[in-house]
């Protein structure tokens, strides 16, 4: 569904992606792991059209999407939940959710999806009128995912959704991810929680200093000595 080939991107003189090849198959959960500064977020931003490529190609179902403006990429069904949640803190929870559906014009569909995400995240239901900035970290993450779902994604990019959350919240987030997949959404998941991420994924990539250093099935990556040492040490 999504394919990155030879993707390079830089911030001024710093080359954050040095020729990344990566493929996400339709219906799959693909996880992208790597240490801090490896370039994971940059890769997602490149897919979303917010970090221009210096070379390489990104295709969605065979069609190039690099160079398109971010809104055109969202319109093609590629929606990102960025690192740090970035909810609109000075808007209500409801307004945040409606912003997720910004490009949609089907009022009935939006209303149905609002009901659907509130079923998926019941704790948001009582807080619809509340200012989103007053939500807890976990609730904000829920809202960020719910907002993305309001855009009816075909491919959802999740950047460290479990970061900084209590264990029970982390479990809830991974349950939600599994549930989203059953609805036919393809997922590209960037995670620090490598163990959980690999256990839910169908395919895994390890990124180090801007390049893919490992690509394998999750079960083999979980057995890989380098992966164990670097990312699973404290689990």
């Amino acid at each position: 569904m999504l394919e990155l080939s030879g993707v390079r991107a830089n911030y001024g003189a710093i080359e954050a992606l040095k020729g990344v090849d990566l493929e996400v198959k339709k219906g799959a959960i693909v996880t992208l792991i790597g240490s801090n500064g490896a370039g994971k977020s940059t890769a997602l931003m490149a897919v979303s059209g917010l970090r221009p490529l210096s070379s390489g190609r990104i295709t969605l179902e065979g069609e190039p999407i690099d160079g398109l403006p971010p809104e055109a990429i969202v319109a093609r069904g590629v929606v990102q939940v960025p690192e740090g949640r970035r909810i609109f803190t000075r808007m209500s929870v409801r307004e945040n959710l409606l912003m997720g559906a910004f490009l949609r014009r089907d009022r009935d569909g939006i209303a149905r999806d609002l009901a659907r995400v509130l079923d998926l995240f019941p704790l948001l239901r009582d807080r619809l009128k509340q200012n989103a900035g007053t939500l807890s970290g976990g609730e904000q993450q829920m809202l960020a995912i719910a907002r993305a779902l309001m855009g009816r994604p075909r491919l959802l990019l999740l950047d460290e959704p479990s970061l900084g959350l209590a264990p029970s919240m982390v479990k809830a987030i991974f349950d939600i991810i599994a549930e989203i997949r059953t609805e036919g959404v393809t997922l590209l998941l960037v995670e620090q929680n490598v163990n959980r991420a690999l256990r839910i994924a169908d395919d895994g990539y390890v990124l180090a200093t801007g390049a893919v250093v490992l690509h394998d099935t999750p079960s083999r990556l979980l057995q890989n000595e380098d992966v164990k040492r670097a990312y699973l040490g404290d689990e």
């Binding site: 809104e71 970035r86 909810i87």
Partner: protein, 302 residues
């Protein structure tokens, strides 16, 4: 001491001028809210609005339209045409510098401001442009206070536009997009907001509001010249800062507040102190309370 009647007269005059400051201040504050640029050319946009409105009114009256039709049409024409000036300003002077840090766009704004002044000087000359219809004199008295019809018009139009702007920003799809882009442009892009177009729209709206203010002022004072954007721009900027720059309701309140304070200073101390009072307030607020007089928390940008 001035007598009580004089006091209320100054309040009415102050609110009139303040409503104009508020309309101009909205453009500063909306643009700042979304791209953190102090658009120093905004005063000139207001001045251009005044010229366009005056020229349009002259043409329409010349074509035989009654003032009751010509003046509203002239206001609409000024808003539309000046909106296009604002749009072009954004495209030419600011968008290419969007990623160039903070200083470059500021310098570009100053350059644009000088350019627009000289442009109007060359096109229209240095002499005052006089509004074609004499309307200042008619009015009515409320006890000791004399209210000109044009003052009522200014207050009514300003109130209408402010309510409409609030409704737009709060209730419409593009208004919400504007608030999102002001809060977090990256995230706004990630939900599909075309941020560049939202920025352009912000310039159009801000310029149109300034243009309406410009036409109202020419009607009030009877004339305008190519330098008029300078003081009005600084005053409106002061109003925006008073209300907390980036804050839409703040700009409205800041404008009215500044107008009234200035007018009272003119009445109690002397007309020549009016501008001094405004700029002392600007400096003091910038030093003591840069987040503005309104609100304790960081103001709601847009």
């Amino acid at each position: 001491m001035i007598p009580g009647g004089q006091f209320f007269q100054q309040i009415v005059n102050g609110l009139t001028v303040g409503a104009v400051y508020a309309l101009i201040a909205l453009g500063y504050t909306m643009v700042y809210g979304i791209i953190e640029l102090i658009n120093f050319a905004h005063g000139e946009i207001y001045m251009i609005g005044a010229y366009v409105g005056t020229i349009a009114a002259a043409l329409l009256l010349g074509a035989g339209l009654p003032a009751t039709a010509a003046i509203p049409l002239a206001i609409v024409a000024a808003a539309a045409i000046t909106g296009l000036y604002g749009l072009s300003a954004e495209r030419i002077a600011y968008r290419p510098l969007r990623k160039a840090g903070r200083l470059a766009p500021l310098i570009s704004a100053l350059g644009l401001s000088i350019f627009l002044q000289q442009y109007v000087l060359l096109a229209q000359g240095a002499r005052d442009k006089v509004f074609p219809e004499e309307i200042t004199s008619s009015g009515f008295t409320l006890g000791p206070v004399r209210v000109a019809f044009v003052q009522v018009l200014i207050l009514a139009v300003a109130a209408l536009l402010m309510v409409a702007l609030q409704a737009f920003v709060r209730r419409t799809r593009m208004g919400r997009a504007m608030r999102c882009a002001a809060q977090d442009p990256v995230m706004a892009s990630l939900v599909g907001v075309p941020v560049d177009r939202v920025i352009a729209l912000t310039f159009i709206i801000g310029s149109a509001l300034a243009a309406v203010a410009g036409v109202l002022v020419v009607m009030y004072y009877g004339k305008v010249n190519y330098l008029a954007g300078y003081t009005a721009g600084l005053k409106a900027f002061t109003a925006a800062v008073l209300g907390g720059i980036g804050n839409i309701p703040g700009a409205m309140v800041g404008g009215l507040f500044l107008g009234v304070v200035e007018s009272l200073a003119a009445g109690y101390i002397g007309g020549e102190y009016k501008d001094v009072v405004a700029f002392v307030m600007l400096v003091v607020v910038l030093i003591v309370r840069p987040q503005g007089l309104l609100g304790v928390r960081v103001p709601d940008k847009i």
